[in-house]
């Protein structure tokens, strides 16, 4: 486990948790990124969602602007990025959440639905990674 980075993981995780508490306390909303993204197309509440997503993008720009390391992956076939994206978009809509909505926020609410979702997507995620990397030999 020489890639294990416990300190930055805990600090980053704490920031994600604090941001979720902030959004609930101030805006009354759950910080589920898939729901926020898909909700962009539902007019009444689209605006705050667009601002939250702008915040995500600004964070990336600020990170790069500060000269922090941006590990870009090279050689990952675009066709696999597209396949993954379609499945993530469809699945998060069908299952009503992703790693943030079901993971960070749902587990924080002690929701059994979210716990089931987290166990399922981690399991299928591990299987998919195994197949793509070790059976199909894709450089992911």
């Amino acid at each position: 486990m020489h890639n294990f980075t416990p300190v930055s993981a805990l600090i980053g995780g704490a920031l994600i948790g604090l941001a979720s508490v902030w959004l609930l306390a101030a805006n009354g909303r759950i910080a589920g990124v898939s729901g926020i993204l898909h909700g962009l197309f539902s007019p009444p509440d689209a605006q705050w969602r667009a601002w939250f997503i702008s915040g995500l993008l600004l964070a990336g720009l600020a990170w790069q602007g500060a000269g922090a390391p941006v590990p870009l992956r090279e050689g990952f076939p675009i066709v696999w990025a597209i396949a993954g994206g379609v499945l993530v978009g469809f699945g998060t809509r069908m299952g009503a959440g992703c790693t943030s909505g079901h993971g960070v926020c749902g587990l924080g609410r002690l929701s059994v639905r979210s716990l089931v979702a987290v166990v399922v997507f981690m399991a299928t995620g591990a299987v998919a990674t195994y197949v793509v990397r070790h059976v199909l030999g894709v450089a992911s």
Binding site: A9, A19, I53, L56, A59, A81, G91, Y130
Partner: protein
């Protein structure tokens, strides 16, 4: 306007957490999902650190009458385990395991304008649209 700036700030802190923790890097995420490879448990600590805070603070926040900048709290109320929940989570997991991106990291990684992040986010919107076609609200 205050509510919108608040949402922007929350998104900014959320995104910064993704970069600090390494989760904006799909290889770091796949290092966790690849349990037969050189396993990297970092994602567990990211999730654990975040949930430790939400599990503690959500209780306190939800005891308040209303949010600071909104009329009411909008929190999921369902607790049934149904087919769409399980099947949807399974499909999401497969996509996540293939590409190493889930929605938050994909959106903040879009700021790098890398070809794969652009392709992934467009495909993710397409996938959401496909679900809307087969299951209109």
């Amino acid at each position: 306007m205050k509510a919108l700036l608040s949402a922007l700030g929350a998104g900014f802190v959320f995104g910064t957490g993704l970069w600090v923790s390494g989760m904006a890097n799909p290889r770091k995420v796949l290092g966790f999902l690849d349990v037969t490879g050189d396993w990297d448990a970092s994602l567990l600590l990211v999730m654990g650190g975040a949930v430790a805070i939400t599990a503690t603070a959500f209780r306190v926040v939800l005891k308040r009458q209303r949010p600071v900048f909104a009329e009411s709290f909008q929190v999921p109320t369902r607790n049934d385990i149904d087919f769409p929940l399980v099947a949807g989570a399974a499909v999401f997991g497969i996509g996540w395991g293939i590409a190493g991106y889930c929605p938050g990291p994909a959106l903040t990684a879009l700021s790098t304008l890398s070809a794969e992040s652009i392709a992934f986010v467009c495909a993710m919107l397409l996938g959401g649209g496909l679900h809307r076609l087969v299951q209109p609200e």
